[in-house]
Amino acid sequence: MTLYLLLAVALLIIGLHGLFVCAQLMRKILALNVLTTAVFLLLVVLAQAAEVLDPVPHAMVLTGIVVTVSTTAVALGLMVRLLERRGGPVSGRDRDSRNS
Amino acid sequence: MTDLFPLLMILLMLNIVVGLMRVLRGPTAADRMLAAEMFATSAIAIALLLAVLTQREALVDLALVFALLSALAVVTFVNRAWSGRVRSSDGEDRP
């Protein structure tokens, strides 16, 4: 169990780090997904600690996964629209956007 | 036999880890996708071994879902991500 707790914290850090450090929107979306997975992992590992298996966090994570896919879909839709509007590679900090 | 199955699971897991090398090295996108398909097969095998080992039929359902969705991944890949006309489909479907 301790192993998975450590894994959750490590994933949390990787996700946060990627979210802040990477400029490209696609990578930010991937980092957000890793981050949510880490939170789910934390919830389930803590649920594991109870004497009787607690199904409430499991149900929460189940809804959370479905919510995550909908936010990912909306984010990707926005990203693709942004690319079409700009006509260039999608990045928050490429040279064109910094100058204009 | 119950000693054998965990060992096989570890072997399959190592199989996945070694296969990650192909994702890392490429060189083409097709190689990476092929490696991803191999991971699906190994994951199915692991789920099935666990299903028999722990007597949980739900894990067979998990293997079924894996099998169905590995097909989706490959088809999306050849059709959308690597279709050869990446930028030329504009205007065909958009007003």
Partner: protein, 314 residues
């Protein structure tokens, strides 16, 4: 499983960390996306090891399947092979920030796990399970004890679809790009299997891991596969089409049941014990169907063209 189990978990954890790192920092976007798909796959195995088969099913169908399809499709719209040059991450300069932050997070979460009381809703749920109408505790929580959460979650899915439709027509081409006779064949062979597995998962949900979420996700993935195989979907952007009603079906059914039991003198979502099993089955059917359609609409990423059904394949 003892030592072999621990070894398995260790390798799994290392592979998860590696794929997560690659998903964010790999050179080249395609490698990142494939790594993320592998991450989802391995995560499903991790859920199995954590005694959460319900989550494993949903993760396999959604995390590894539909999210992967979405990411790959979005990648097709990006110039990902030429775009490598602009794809930079800041590196190496910020260790002084991230190492202490990581240690702080570790200490905080470890302390929280150590000090906070263990989640103790397991016993109340087990005690009430007999009155919920189903045998699977997760389904009981999802559609009976905390049906409120599920209602809001379907509302979020609906909201996502509304947001995407308001962005304009779907950005993906509607016909298969690769002309291969194998593709329609694959669709014809696999789609019945998708329907079968989806119905089976829905039926199993009342007494074993499964239920509306994985069933809906598998069904939605089947729809995406058929779209890819060149089938013309019956949905369209027509304002008066049945499509919009079908999308709202899950939401309408849940609200309808919630208010119907209120007229019988019960609380919001407080089912009468003798009817609970049937009401949950009804809700699962409606929610499963609705989740499948909503996920398919989310995959489309925009309003489907109005003349889709009549358009000839390219």
């Amino acid at each position: 499983m003892g030592a072999p189990g621990l070894a398995f978990d260790g390798i799994l954890g290392a592979a998860l960390l590696w794929t997560a790192w690659q998903a964010i920092h790999a050179a080249g976007l395609f490698r990142a996306v494939v790594s993320f798909m592998v991450f989802g796959l391995l995560m499903a195995l991790a859920w199995v090891r954590l005694e959460a088969p319900d989550i494993a099913l949903a993760e396999a169908a959604i995390g590894a399947g539909i999210t992967g399809a979405l990411l790959l499709s979005a990648l097709g719209r990006l110039d990902w092979e030429a775009g490598r040059a602009t794809d930079e991450c800041l590196r190496g300069r910020d260790r002084a920030f991230w190492v202490p932050t990581g240690l702080l997070l570790l200490a905080g979460l470890g302390g929280a796990a150590w000090l906070l009381p263990a989640p103790g809703l397991g016993e109340p749920v087990a005690a009430e399970l007999g009155r919920s109408g189903v045998e699977n505790p997760v389904t009981a929580v999802l559609l009976n004890f905390r049906a409120w959460d599920t209602l809001l979650e379907i509302a979020i899915l609906l909201l996502g679809v509304v947001a995407l439709w308001s962005l304009g027509p779907t950005p993906w081409p509607s016909s298969p790009e690769l002309v291969s006779p194998a593709l329609p064949m694959l669709g014809r062979v696999l789609f019945p299997a998708f329907v079968l597995v989806s119905a089976y998962l829905l039926w199993r949900g009342s007494h074993a891991p499964g239920g509306a979420f994985p069933a809906g996700a598998v069904m939605g993935a089947g729809g995406v596969l058929m779209l890819m195989a060149g089938a013309r979907p019956w949905l369209s952007g027509d304002v008066h089409g049945p499509w919009r009603w079908a999308l709202a079906l899950g939401m309408v059914a849940m609200l309808g049941v919630a208010f119907a039991v209120m007229t019988g003198g019960h609380g919001f979502f407080e089912y009468p014990v003798e009817l609970a099993g049937r009401l949950i089955l009804l809700l699962e059917l409606a929610a499963g169907l609705s989740i499948a359609l909503l996920l398919f609409a989310l995959y489309l990423g925009g309003e489907p063209p109005a003349d889709w059904e009549t358009r000839r394949p390219a």
